[in-house]
Amino acid sequence: MSTNIDHIKEEHHHQPSGLMRWITTTNHKDIGSLYLWFSLLMFFIGGFMALIIRAELFQPGLQLVVPGFFNQMTTMHALIMIFGALMPAFVGLANWQLPMMIGAPDMALPRLNNWSFWILPFAFTMLLSTLFFESGGPAAGWTLYPPLSLQGGNSMPFVIFSLHLLGASSILGAINVIATILNMRAPGMTLMKMPIFVWTWLITAFLLIAAMPVLAGAITMLLTDRFYGTSFFTAAGGGDPVLFQHIFWFFGHPEVYILILPAFGIISTIIPAFSRKKLFGYDSMVYATASIALLSFIVWAHHMFTVGMPLAGEIFFMFTTMLIAVPTGVKVFNWVATMWRGSMTFETPMLFSLAFIILFTIGGFSGLMLAITPADFQYHDTYFVVAHFHYVLVPGAIFAVIAAVYYWLPKWTGKMYNETLGKVHFWMTTVFVNITFFPMHFVGLAGMPRRIPDYAVQFTDFNMIASIGAFGFGLSQLLFVYILFQTLRQPVTAADKSWEGAEGLEWTLPSPAPYHSFDTPPKVD
C-alpha cells in the first residue's frame, strides 16, 4: 500500500513536458483546460459554418453555395456547436471547478478523465472529414430523421461512428463527475451544502447517462437500416419513420437540459457573488433543477407535434411541456430575489449573467408559446423555432460559459483580465446577439420555414439584419480570444479571493490554484 502511494507521489515529480504532458495528463486542471480550448476551437469552426449560412441568406436568390452544401452547413453547424462547443465547455468547467468546489485533490477517476477528453479530437476529425468526401457531409439535419438520412452519401457511417464516440466520451465524463461528487466531498459538506454548480452538474451527469445510450440505440438502428437490410424506420419494409423521432427526442429533450442545467448552476453562483448576498432559495433551486430533469423525460414529443399523434398524446405532451415553466420560473424569480436589496456591482461576469437572465427568459417565453400545440402547428419548423432555441443556447448556455470563464479566470491563471475590454466584449456580444436572433422571430411568424437556402422576397429585410448581426457577433468573439491571450501574458497579481462577494472553497486556495487542488481536505461546517 505504502509503495503504491510513494509511486503516485513519484509521478508528480516526473511529469513529461511538452506535448506528452498534455497527452498523458491525468490532472483535472490540465484536462479542464484541454476541454475548454477544444471547445473554443469548435466554437469558431461551428461559427464559421453559421456565417456561411448567414452569408447565403443575406439576400434572396442563391449567391454562394448550392442547396446541398447549405444543408451540410446547417447539419454540421448544429452537431459541432452542441457536441463540440457546448458540451465540452461544460465538462471543462466541471473538471476545473468540481474538485476545487468540493475540497478534493482531483477528479475521482483521473485516467478515465484523460480518455474521455482524448476521444474528442478523433471523433471530430472524423466528423469534419466527411465534408471533404465526394458525396459531402451529412445533410439531413442534426436530427438525422429517416428516411432522408438514409439517403445520405458515404458520410453516414462516419457521422454515426463519431456520434458513438462522443456519446462514449460523455458517458465516461458523467461517470467521473458522479463518482467525484458522491465520494470526494470534504468532511462536513453534506449534499444540501454543496455549491449549486455542483448540484446542477450532478443532475446533468445522470441525465447524460440516461440519454446518451438512447441516442446510440437510435443511430445504430439507422446504421443497420442502411447497411444490414433491417427496416426499423422504412415504411416500405414495415418500419416506422416516426419511431425514430420518438427515440431521438427521448434523448434530445434531456440533451437540451444537459446544455442548460450547468448554465443555471453558473448563473446561480455569479449572481450572489456580485449581489454580495446569499443565493435566494437554495433548496428550491435544487428541487427545481431536479424537477426540470425529471420532466425532461416526459415532454419529448413536443418536438414533433406535427407528426399526427393521437389527440390524447398531443394534450399530454402539451401539459407536461407547459409544466416545465413552473420550476424554470422559480429559478428566474430566485435570481431576481437574490439581487433584490443586494449591493450590486457590474463586472463582466455579472453583466453576462444579467443578460443571461433576461435573454434566456425571452427564450423561455417563446418556448412556452411553442408548447401550445395548436399554435405550434403554425410555429413548428419555422424561423420562430430557430429564434427560440438560439435564444436559450447562445445568450443562454454560451453566455453562461463566457461568464464562468471571466469569473474563474483569475483563479485558474492568477491573472486578471482587462475589465474595460471585458465590458466592450459584453456590450458588442449582447447587441449583436439580439440583432442576429430577434428578427428571426419576425420572419418565422411571417411564414419563413427553417433549413431553406433561399427565401421569398418579403423575408429579405429581416434576413439582412440577422446576417449583419451574425458577422458582428463573430467579430466580437475574436475580441474574446484577444482578451484571453492578453490575460495570459499578464504577471500573476490576482488575489486568492478575486471577487469581494465570491463564496466557496475555491477562493480559499491561492491564485493560481495549485496543481493538486486540496492535498488535505478542508473542513466544512
Binding site: 420560473g329 411568424l445 439582412m464
Partner: protein, 266 residues
C-alpha cells in the same frame, strides 16, 4: 470592391423599395388558422405582462440596489411563503392557458363531416394532389420562372420574379365555405404541408396518412411551403391554394375531369 459596393447599394435600395416588415403571424381565413392566431396572441400578451413585471423588478433592483449608490446587502435568503406563491401563481396562469388551448386543439383535430377530401402526397420535390370524390389529380411544382432564377449564378433579379419561390405550375383549387378534409402522405421522405393563412402544418410521412381540415371563408390565393427538411430542394416545393366560390369550383372540377377523359381517349 466595386462589385461589393454595387451589392451594398442594391441591397439598401431594395430595403426601401421592397420594405415588407411583417413581424407577426398572418390572421387566418379558416377557423383553424384563426384559432391558432387568437391563441398565439393570447399567450404572447400573457408572456409580455409577465416579462414586464419580472424585468421591471429586476431593473428596479439593478438601478437602486447597487453598491455605487451605497446599498448595503440585506441578509434574507429564503422565504417559504414567497416561494410557494411564485410556484402556485405560474401554475394557475398555465391552467388558464391550457383550457383554451385544449379546446382549440380538440376543434382542430375534428375532421368529421367534411364535404370533400383532398389527398396530398409529398415527393422530392413536388406535391401530388388527388381530389378523392371528384376524380381530379395532378402534380404541382415550383413554376419555371422561379426555378430558373433560383439557380446558383443565374444572374436573374429574383425581386422581379412574380411571387418568387411561392408560385407553382398547377394550383390547388378549393371551394370556399366548405369543410375540406386533407389527407397527407409521402412517397419518399417526410415532407410537411403548410399554408399559414388557411391551416397549421402537418407532416406528410411515408406509410402514414395524416389528417387536416380547412374551411376557407374568403376567396383568394394562399401560398405556403414544404416545412420539413426533405433534401436538397426542400426550399423549392411551394404550395398555392386558390379558394373560389362553390359554383366556380364545380366548373373547375368538370373542366379538369373532362380534360382527363380527353387525355385518356387520345
Amino acid at each position: 470592391m466595386n462589385r461589393l459596393s454595387a451589392l451594398l447599394i442594391a441591397s439598401l435600395a431594395s430595403v426601401s423599395s421592397f420594405a415588407d416588415w411583417e413581424v407577426n403571424m398572418p390572421r387566418g381565413v379558416s377557423p383553424t388558422a384563426n384559432a391558432a392566431y387568437d391563441l398565439h396572441m393570447l399567450i404572447f400578451y400573457i408572456t409580455v405582462v409577465i416579462g414586464v413585471i419580472v424585468f421591471g423588478v429586476m431593473f428596479y433592483s439593478i438601478f437602486h440596489h447597487r453598491k455605487s449608490k451605497g446599498a448595503k446587502p440585506a441578509s434574507f435568503h429564503e422565504s417559504t411563503t414567497v416561494e410557494v406563491i411564485w410556484t402556485v401563481i405560474p401554475f394557475v396562469i398555465l391552467v388558464g392557458m391550457a383550457i383554451p388551448a385544449t379546446k382549440t386543439l380538440i376543434m382542430m383535430e375534428d375532421t368529421r363531416d367534411s364535404e370533400i377530401t383532398l389527398k396530398v402526397t409529398g415527393y422530392q420535390w413536388m406535391w401530388k394532389y388527388d381530389y378523392v370524390e371528384d376524380n381530379v389529380s395532378f402534380f404541382s411544382k415550383l413554376d419555371n420562372k422561379s426555378n430558373e432564377a433560383r439557380q446558383l449564378g443565374s444572374k436573374i433579379d429574383v425581386k422581379k420574379v412574380d411571387n418568387y419561390l411561392l408560385n407553382v405550375d398547377n394550383e390547388v383549387v378549393l371551394p370556399t365555405d366548405t369543410k375540406v378534409r386533407i389527407l397527407l402522405t409521402a412517397s419518399d421522405v417526410i415532407h410537411a404541408w403548410w399554408v399559414p393563412e388557411i391551416t397549421g402544418k402537418k407532416d406528410a410521412i411515408p406509410g402514414y396518412i395524416n389528417e387536416l381540415w380547412v374551411d376557407i371563408k374568403k376567396p383568394g390565393v394562399y401560398r405556403g411551403q414544404c416545412t420539413e427538411l426533405c433534401g436538397k430542394d426542400h426550399g423549392f416545393m411551394p404550395i398555392v391554394v386558390r379558394a373560389v366560390p362553390k359554383q366556380e369550383y364545380v366548373k373547375w372540377v368538370s373542366l379538369n375531369q373532362k380534360n382527363r377523359v380527353a387525355d385518356k381517349s387520345e
